[in-house]
């Protein structure tokens, strides 16, 4: 683990990403203390430009709500949805991929057809349908992003498990009389964790993008302030109030960028090629 950390730390750009992610997390956690009032609260006259009033440093929106407060509270939502939906995708994708890769044959065939099937449907369109059907809410958005997100996980896990499955330690475990479940969970999965972690980190970024797209189309939870919502709501006034779509857009861009940098840093630090340097 220390080896991993020192390898990760060596990549400056990944460290910058990590620091930015840490900042976003800090803002998300601090949001209720920074802006104890609801971000929906109309606090000033509408369309106040940024840097004009110290109390609303980033200006106000169409209803006179504080943009800075919205950004801070939006960070919470974006991160929450990004992380939870990724967990949902992992919860679906990892078992399917592991079972397909481990058992192979007809089980693999069936599961992979099933996965392909989900991949053939344009995923964004599917997400729209799911959210619309279950009515926009935090739960339905998370579920929809998770549901469209799992096929790549399943494919990755299947591939990795398949590769591990061919290694002799798995045969040794079978000969030792271990059950399939034990072999998958105790022997194989720990060896597949690195690529899953890398993929998961990138999926968090993708999920944040997807959530913002859904909110932009008006398919977000109407009770939670999110960055995508802010841009969607500002779309029609983009010309008289550029800051309303600009700041949340930049917030998404920076967060997603930073998570990607961390993901890449993880990928390199966890790369078997670089971790094999002790022999």
């Amino acid at each position: 683990m220390t080896g991993f950390w020192s390898r990760f730390r060596r990549r400056r750009i990944a460290m910058i990403g990590l620091i930015v992610v840490a900042l976003v997390v800090a803002v998300a956690i601090a949001a209720p203390y920074l802006y104890p009032q609801s971000p929906w609260k109309m606090v000033q006259r509408p369309f106040l430009p940024p840097f004009a009033n110290a109390l609303v440093p980033l200006g106000t929106d169409t209803l006179g709500r504080n943009v800075a407060s919205g950004l801070a509270h939006g960070a919470q939502v974006s991160l929450l949805i990004g992380i939870v939906s990724t967990l949902v995708a992992l919860a679906v994708g990892v078992p399917i991929g592991a079972i397909a890769g481990y058992f192979g044959g007809i089980v693999d065939d069936v599961l992979m057809r099933f996965t392909e099937f989900f991949q053939t449907v344009p995923s964004f369109a599917l997400a729209i349908v799911l959210v619309a059907i279950f009515q926009p809410s935090l739960t339905s958005v998370i579920a929809a992003i998770g549901v469209v997100g799992w096929p790549p996980v399943a494919r990755l896990v299947r591939g990795e498990v398949l590769a591990q499955r061919r290694r002799e330690y798995v045969e040794a475990a079978i000969l030792a009389g271990q059950s399939n479940f034990t072999i998958i969970t105790r022997q194989i999965l720990p060896n597949v964790v690195s690529p899953i972690v890398v993929l998961a980190s990138l999926m968090v970024a993708t999920a944040i993008l997807l959530e913002s797209s859904l909110s932009f189309l008006g398919l977000g939870d109407p009770s939670v302030m999110s960055w995508g919502y802010m841009i969607g709501a500002a779309r029609t006034v983009v010309r008289q109030a550029w800051w309303l779509s600009f700041f949340p857009g930049v917030a998404i861009l920076i967060t997603v960028l930073a998570i990607n940098l961390v993901g890449e840093g993880l990928a390199e630090a966890l790369d078997p090629r670089s971790s094999r340097d002790h022999h």
Binding site: E168, Y169, A172, A173, I174, L175, A176, G177, H279
Partner: protein, 548 residues
């Protein structure tokens, strides 16, 4: 020493990137090669033999660099040439072939074009002439149907054919020096013999000097004029092949030569032959693979194991030999039912195991355990060694603590320190890992051990140690051993009986002396003939004859 050396390397040092386990990959290495001569550079893995060759070619891996030394080719120091100068040398003055003929050819390009590229790289000939030369070269290296082969993609050729293409490419411009980096290691023994023969022939015909890098003293004996022995980046001994093999001066060389399997049984048969107590009886075992064609396309059937029958008694060692694809590994996996055979009978201690449920099978598997080939892949990198060894007993219901304590004992038995229990596999060397694998196989107190190429991935000195351990354990624990290997010398060293497999079938089976001494089947004879270093006229043969 009358002739002028075409390549002379002096005091070469190659620096490794920071953080590696040593400062220099190669240090203070000097050697020279004269026209028409074959210089073998021998050493175990990590000895720096390939690094030296790559340094000469200017193809060192990224991060490493020549720190010191000169390499004079025709009086020009290669280490001081610029990139363009070096490019003019590569392919034209020095040709090179590599270990893996599969990956060394561009998979997307027809082999004819790949050969023609050599001429193109040096701006020679017209495209039509290049094609003609490529065809001539393919004919010269003995590829069947060269007119067709020229249009083939690498994947359509066999390993041996691919290596021939590589040789054709390397020799296309009649270089003065050919560097061959373990060119036969990935090949079957019969193919290896053919390739070695081809290199020799071409060398004679073109007068090329060959720098031959290998770990196999048998190959050295067959091909080398002079030998450089390397160890951990340094040259330990240099001399003519006859001198080095026949009268090694350095302890390391001596040890290496001593470790070569002699091809004679080392374990004396029990003084008093006792009644054979059959532990395993196999009859008509069959496994075929059908590549599904789908409708409209005929399915392809491969016989991995075809009506194999044999029996095995307590204390006996059965060697299963054959080239890759002969089905010997499939046989081993069928026996422990990692692969489900489709027909036949497997009786362990008289009880039929075929057709039994998975639960029942678990019981039988404890009687028959396996030692695997890959010292890296056969141990879970994320498990501690103690746990790896104890897994079988734990799965069988033994309390974890007890099982781990027993694992420590087993590890001691295979010659490892008790502290090994808490360490991870990557902290061990290849030989040590194989010992861990053996300890694991023993953990369930089996009657039968199947060793599948258990020493193939090991350096020769380590190989000898592991073989000795296996033989020792077998005798001590009164085990039956099935030893699967492609190396006939190894088989001859350790086995009582040997079965020769070809295309899934046992073509010949009998006591080792009988099979190897008086082979009946044509295939067996071919295999034996192809063993490197076997020829009685070679230096090793002479040594062996004298010593044995």
């Amino acid at each position: 020493m009358s002739e002028e050396a075409i390549l002379s390397v002096e005091n070469l040092a190659v620096e490794l990137p920071a953080g590696a386990d040593r400062l220099f990959a190669v240090e203070g290495v000097s050697f020279e090669i004269r026209p028409g001569e074959t210089l073998a550079i021998v050493g175990e893995s990590g000895s720096g033999k390939s690094m030296s060759a790559n340094a000469v070619m200017g193809l060192l891996p990224p991060g490493t660099r020549v720190a010191q030394g000169i390499a004079k080719l025709d009086g020009v120091d290669l280490f001081h040439l610029d990139e363009a100068g070096m490019r003019a040398i590569r392919g034209r003055r020095i040709g090179m072939i590599f270990q893996e003929p599969m990956t060394a050819l561009d998979p997307l390009m027809r082999v004819g074009e790949q050969i023609a590229e050599v001429f193109e790289a040096h701006g020679l000939l017209t495209p039509a002439e290049r094609r003609a030369r490529a065809l001539a070269l393919l004919t010269e290296v003995g590829i069947p149907e060269p007119e067709r082969a020229i249009h083939a993609y690498p994947f359509q050729l066999s390993g041996g054919q691919r290596q021939r293409v590589m040789i054709a490419m390397a020799l296309a411009l009649d270089p003065v020096l050919l560097i061959a980096d373990e060119p036969t290691t990935a090949l079957d023994v019969t193919t290896q013999a053919q390739i070695l023969k081809l290199i020799k022939e071409l060398q004679r015909k073109h007068g090329t000097a060959v720098m031959f890098i290998t770990h196999d003293f048998g190959v050295v004996a067959d091909i080398a004029d002079r030998v450089v022995v390397m160890r951990q980046g340094k040259v330990v001994e240099t001399g003519t092949a006859a001198a080095v093999l026949g009268d090694p001066q350095h302890d390391y060389t001596k040890a290496l030569i001593a470790a070569i399997p002699t091809g004679h049984p080392e374990v004396a048969p029990p003084a008093t032959p006792r009644a054979r107590e059959i532990v395993l009886e196999v009859a008509g075992l069959t496994k075929t693979y059908t590549t599904s064609g789908g409708f409209m396309r005929p399915a392809r059937v491969v016989h991995a194991v075809k009506s194999v029958s044999f029996d095995l008694a307590r204390g006996e060692t059965l060697g299963v030999v054959g080239e890759s694809g002969s089905g010997k590994s499939s046989l081993g996996r069928c026996l422990v039912r990692l692969i489900e055979p489709e027909a036949g009978s497997i009786k362990i201690e008289g009880a039929e195991t075929m057709g039994q449920s998975i639960g029942q099978m678990r019981q039988w598997r404890r009687r028959m355990q396996m030692v695997f080939q890959d010292p890296y892949g056969s141990l879970n990198p994320r498990s501690r060694v103690g746990r790896i060894v104890a897994e079988g007993p734990i799965a069988a219901g033994v309390p974890v603590k007890t099982a781990i304590a027993k694992a420590a004992d087993l590890l001691a038995m295979v010659g490892l320190d008790a502290s090994a229990v808490d360490r991870f596999p990557h902290e061990f060397s290849g030989g040590q890992r194989q010992r861990i694998g053996i300890a694991r196989a023993l953990a369930l107190d089996p009657r039968i051990i199947i060793a599948d190429e258990a020493v193939s991935a090991l350096d020769v000195s380590i190989q000898a140690q592991v073989l000795r351990l296996l033989a020792d354990l077998k005798a001590r624990l009164d085990l039956a051993l099935i030893f699967i290997t492609h190396d006939l010398r190894v088989a001859a060293t350790i086995c009582d009986k040997v079965a020769v497999m070809q295309r899934g079938e046992i073509v010949e089976m009998g006591p080792v002396g009988q099979v190897f001494g008086d082979p009946q089947h044509d295939y067996t004879r071919r295999l034996i003939a192809a063993i490197p270093g076997r020829s009685e006229s070679g230096p090793l043969g002479r040594v062996r004859a004298a010593g044995a």
